[in-house]
Symmetry: C2
Subunit: 420 residues, 2 copies
């Protein structure tokens, strides 16, 4: 096969068959097809798209580029397309365990203005995120859940492609996003999956239309693999919950499971967890919701949280939080109409909580705690947020730019848009 | 500026300003922007296009990436987008000299199934194609014309970009083709230019529509630089002339100037040369045609051919032609309807006359001589073509596949489609 002809096929809007996609991806992984050819191909895909058939074939090629796990148990999994303050994995993992479901959750590191679960877990002292296979199997049978760093052995082609997409403006392709999400879930053996598709200013996907298109494509891939998938379309215009920053988000998760939670975060956690349970137990959604709420209120999920962390040698009493902090006060009075998730996420990243490039070092202890949320009335001089900083300090005025005020109280929209 | 954001701008169909294009091209030339980012950008341009304003800005950036020549004389230039058997430069250069016009013709090497003028000239023993500046000036004043290898100092960015485009399926972009052609002409100081835009199966551009679009874009760039440009749209479905292969095409050029020519090649040569003369002398096209025909028939152009080659130390009596040859005979009787230029060009390339990759070694002595052309009647067993081969031999049946027969004589279409 001729690489240039294959790229040209996609450039001119034609579809590639599975053999051709295999040739491209395998050649790229083997180092035989250089990155400049692959990036041209990825740009052609980003602009001209993939047919459903191509997406399914491409996903399969990615799955087969690495190891495929299989378990005796019916494994569940969850995924989020990423947002600001999104600590749902930290909260849902213990709920899953408390409800008797089984999950090997592999997560990535953060990039850009959105955080990554691995970074958050790393803020817990001594937390082990790379476990040997026997330990994983043992954890599943004893605890029900383990939290791991995405294995380099699972869909390695996807990782290589993602690194290239990240620097060539080819990340915003619905088919490439769909295949990237699904290949890792398929290779890690999940049978019941819930995916939180975030849309809005602080998310990767800006519009509901894109979110729905992604959900439909994910469903098509899932169907082919006999996976039960639920997509939850949720808003990411404002930060999720109260805390943003790695250690701070661990602390919010602890508070949440202790009964002190932000309502929107609670709604989302219950939705994501209950949809897993619906498919796991073949019960009604109402019944599933009740069970989820029950393990939160009776602290079984909190105990599962401790158990999961202890099982992976983490010390929950030693979570990294920066000692240096300051407060930002409002310079006007009024109702908060909106806190801009993208701007706030970028400021927290600039504090040192996130990476601009893949190899940047980050500060797990920095971040912000939002003391006022949209819909709240704030008086001039009242504290809006608390900033935990490290080496980098950001002026109050920068934080104030994230806040939009209104004279009248406006009801902020619900966080969940649709279940697809 | 952020490279990924600039690539993304083009990906999403927006226009880049001159500052942004300069940043991208200069960064690429300086090695600061890696090839995988540039290839993604080039693919986005190939699919989403450039506005007229962008093409003009991009061309200017390419021009400024290297040296810009200037001459006291009003310089002319010609260019062909490339075809099979296209030896027009070899024939037009002496016509230009015989008519008293001045031309520093810089040419490239062949790539793919189309030949390159530099390779053809290299088949002349000892021909010098890299002359020092003073020798170039002296040649212009004494001989009128010199034939050079494209200087690495002229628009180096274009050369780097072309190498990348060639391996990333981003060659078929009208704006990129237009800027690539014009930047070299502008930088080498030409004021009157004729461009032979070839369309058809054996050409780079497959359709007349593409050819016309290129012509219009070239005219827009030329206008901005106060260059008088004529575009000749010509057919490249069949090989041009009789001989294909480097040394063989030099020999055909000699025969042509000696009065023994293929009619279609003659028409094209007269058209291209006369349009230069129209703008050079401000005369009518009819008058210009007469003058061109005159210097061919009175052998002044032939003498200029010898003078040009002698001036550059070439030995016209020593042109490389392979000693090994064979004939291919027809296996049926009938009228030749068509000889496929693309297939024939690829066979000649496989004989060793052309390159698949930029660094491939080629055999300057191999090629074919077409003894029968479309419109001719051929009897079974009659010789169709003579093959000059070297290391690689190709079976007769492969050559026979290039021929399409008809029961009745059909008039092959004229080679010139339009003057734009």
């Amino acid at each position: 096969m001729n690489v240039v002809k294959l790229i040209d096929k996609k450039r001119s809007g034609k579809a590639l068959n599975k053999q051709e996609l295999t040739y491209l991806v395998d050649g790229f992984v083997a180092g035989e097809i250089p990155d400049y050819q692959m990036s041209a191909f990825l740009m052609a895909v980003t602009i001209n798209g993939f047919s459903d058939r191509e997406v399914i074939a491409f996903t399969d090629v990615l799955v087969k580029s690495g190891k495929q796990l299989s378990f005796d148990e019916k494994m569940v999994d969850k995924h989020s397309t990423g947002g600001v303050g999104d600590k749902t994995t930290l909260i849902i993992a213990p709920i899953v365990a408390a409800l008797g479901m089984k999950m090997v959750k592999m997560s990535g590191r953060g990039l850009g203005h959105t955080g990554g679960t691995v970074d958050k877990l790393m803020a817990i002292q001594n937390m082990q995120l790379n476990l040997p296979e026997d330990k994983i199997k043992k954890s599943i049978s004893e605890i029900g859940v383990c939290l791991l760093q995405q294995s380099a052995e699972i869909a390695p082609a996807d990782k290589m492609l993602y690194q290239l997409r990240d620097v060539t403006a080819t990340t915003e392709s619905i088919p490439l996003i769909a295949s990237s999400i699904m290949c890792k879930k398929i290779a890690s053996g999940a049978k019941i999956i819930v995916i939180d598709i975030k849309v809005g200013k602080g998310a990767f996907l800006k519009t509901q239309k894109e979110g729905r298109a992604l959900a439909q494509l994910l469903q098509k891939i899932a169907k082919r693999y006999h996976i039960k998938l639920t997509c939850v379309l949720s808003r990411m215009d404002e930060p999720l919950g109260i805390n943003i920053g790695n250690g701070l988000e661990v602390m919010e998760s602890l508070s949440f499971l202790n009964g002190d939670y932000d309502d929107k975060l609670y709604d989302l956690v219950v939705a994501l967890s209950s949809h897993l349970l619906v498919d796991y137990q073949n019960i009604s959604h109402l019944e599933a919701q009740e069970q989820v709420k029950e393990v939160i209120s009776n602290k079984e999920a909190l105990n599962a949280f401790f158990a999961i962390i202890e099982n992976q040698e983490g010390r929950i009493k030693k979570v990294k939080i920066s000692r240096k902090n300051m407060v930002v006060k409002s310079v006007k009075s009024g109702y908060i109409k909106k806190i801009d998730a993208l701007q706030m996420g970028q400021l927290v990243q600039q504090l040192g909580a996130g990476r601009l490039k893949a190899n940047d070092k980050i500060d797990l202890g920095v971040g912000v705690v939002l003391l006022k949320k949209s819909g709240d009335y704030v008086k001039e001089g009242e504290t809006l947020l608390k900033v935990y900083y490290g080496k980098n300090k950001i002026s109050n005025s920068e934080f104030l730019k994230c806040y939009h005020f209104a004279n009248n109280k406006t009801q902020p929209p619900k966080s969940i848009i649709a279940i697809i």
